[in-house]
Subunit: 304 residues, 2 copies
Amino acid sequence: MDKIVDMSIATVERETGIGKDTLRVWERRYGFPQPLRDSKGERLYPSRQVDQLRLIKRLMDQGHRPGRLLSVSEEERLELAAAKPAIHPARSKDEQDLIQQTLDLLKSHDTQGLRLAFNQAMMRQGLHQFVLGTVVALNRSVGEAWRRGELEIFEEHLYSEQLKSLLRQAINSLPADANGHPRILLTTFPEEQHALGLLMAECLFTLEGATCISLGTQTPLFDIRLAALAHRADIVALSFSTAFSVRQRAPLLNQLREMLPSTVELWAGGMASEKLPAIDGVVLLPTLEAGLAALKNFRQKVGD
Amino acid sequence: MDKIVDMSIATVERETGIGKDTLRVWERRYGFPQPLRDSKGERLYPSRQVDQLRLIKRLMDQGHRPGRLLSVSEEERLELAAAKPAIHPARSKDEQDLIQQTLDLLKSHDTQGLRLAFNQAMMRQGLHQFVLGTVVALNRSVGEAWRRGELEIFEEHLYSEQLKSLLRQAINSLPADANGHPRILLTTFPEEQHALGLLMAECLFTLEGATCISLGTQTPLFDIRLAALAHRADIVALSFSTAFSVRQRAPLLNQLREMLPSTVELWAGGMASEKLPAIDGVVLLPTLEAGLAALKNFRQKVGD
DNA sequence: TTTCTTTTTTGTCCTAGACAAATAGATTGT
DNA sequence: ACAATCTATTTGTCTAGGACAAAAAAGAAA
């Protein structure tokens, strides 16, 4: 019971999200991690080191650089983890309260209560405001709490499951206009598995009377192209989370841009799109508001 | 417009689901694929070869072996693809009709119609029967149509999005008994992204009055353990699709088994569990019916 | 036929070197 | 002091070809 065994390199990749090649090159360059070896010479990572790797990944997502993190002692890493919470735009009392309530409910694993709280907030504010304001703020706060180590991954899963379920329900109860314009195809790239941003966009676009076709997450580029053609989409909208490596975005977007007919617009929304260099023929949408503006824009353009 | 560029090895891995190591070793052993090289000597796969790889992956999922597929000509592979549809247990006229209707709606990309058809079937049959009979049959038929090349991946995405949405809605409308027993934690392993099986199980277990805590897909083992402890789960139930490599299941299940307290049962459900060797302390559930039986069983055991 | 043993097939891991894109740091010009 | 340009370092991903064990197929024996 409860014995935690040493892990193979494939397992560590899965558990931490750090690639095999990267794990090996870190070991070579920085001397960490330093796994044991089994009888056939393969790496075996003790769980203590895997914990450290988890922490390192967290800190890297916060902007720390691997070189420093890896050449520093275990204790110093823990210090970094306990650092400053960023300052945020002023929030209403209501929002503050809901955030605190959400974090408390998550920590006590009260899924029922969570659902109830979300539902009430949504009813009170209306879907538009709820998504644009509250959900955005919640995402940020939950993400931060996780980065600070206050929440476990499974608690974040719980949060996003509840919210996804609620948003889906909301979308389904909206009057669907099959001939709404424009026709927007929604999905994410293959490694991107975060569906929440997608659902938020779908809510807002559907509220505006557009037709949304959601393929869910992780569609290969080739199939995005096929789907766009099959559904006669006017716009292909992709959602990115911070987890999606910024390095990969530009080349992937370029590739998709070349695959799509030039009459189809390509929108890229989500976290950290600000950092991205402008790409020809790709509309970058750092926020949901920008998405709504783009939609208005598109309609004006097509209108005349 | 529409120009399809050569792809890097990382891209091919994403698009086909075949690992980099495997792609390289196939090239060495069988001479296929045989990518071009760019200025720095890195592989560039022409889209023609990537299409072939997609086909090969499909055929492998059907049970063909790589050695044969890769050493055979392009034409012969296409012949294999057009082969026999397997024979299935007798189905009711209703079910047959719905299956045909679903495939037609999918091919014409009529999401509204799809949703309507599903909803009607569910209303008519009741959730229990709908999940156990119709959804199972639909999954199989859609999966087969895809393997035969009749459906594109994006059409399969569409199917599963609609169904997931419907099942989620159904679950939410069930009377949730927060004190229902047993407490079942539902999730999948990190590479497993198919949420449909999970939702189907959640429907059935909830209907039986159990408390389901769904973490969604792709939870690291470490977090499954944490969640099980935090939620005081009686049972941890994992869902596998055929896409999940059979090779990996046994070691992963063993690993999780060792991490969990022995008082917590571990259930592994989903396709191809029959093929799996028995694992000590892990209950294998090849079908949903087996899952329901296991639940009844568990209750009797605890009852006395 | 079934069961056991041998051979082939197949995916994953290994080392150690290379290189370009991204980032940080230094230098220069306004 | 601040912005822009250049240089140096950092970092992830790719390459080659060898190795090995687990799975599957083929062969042998009951």
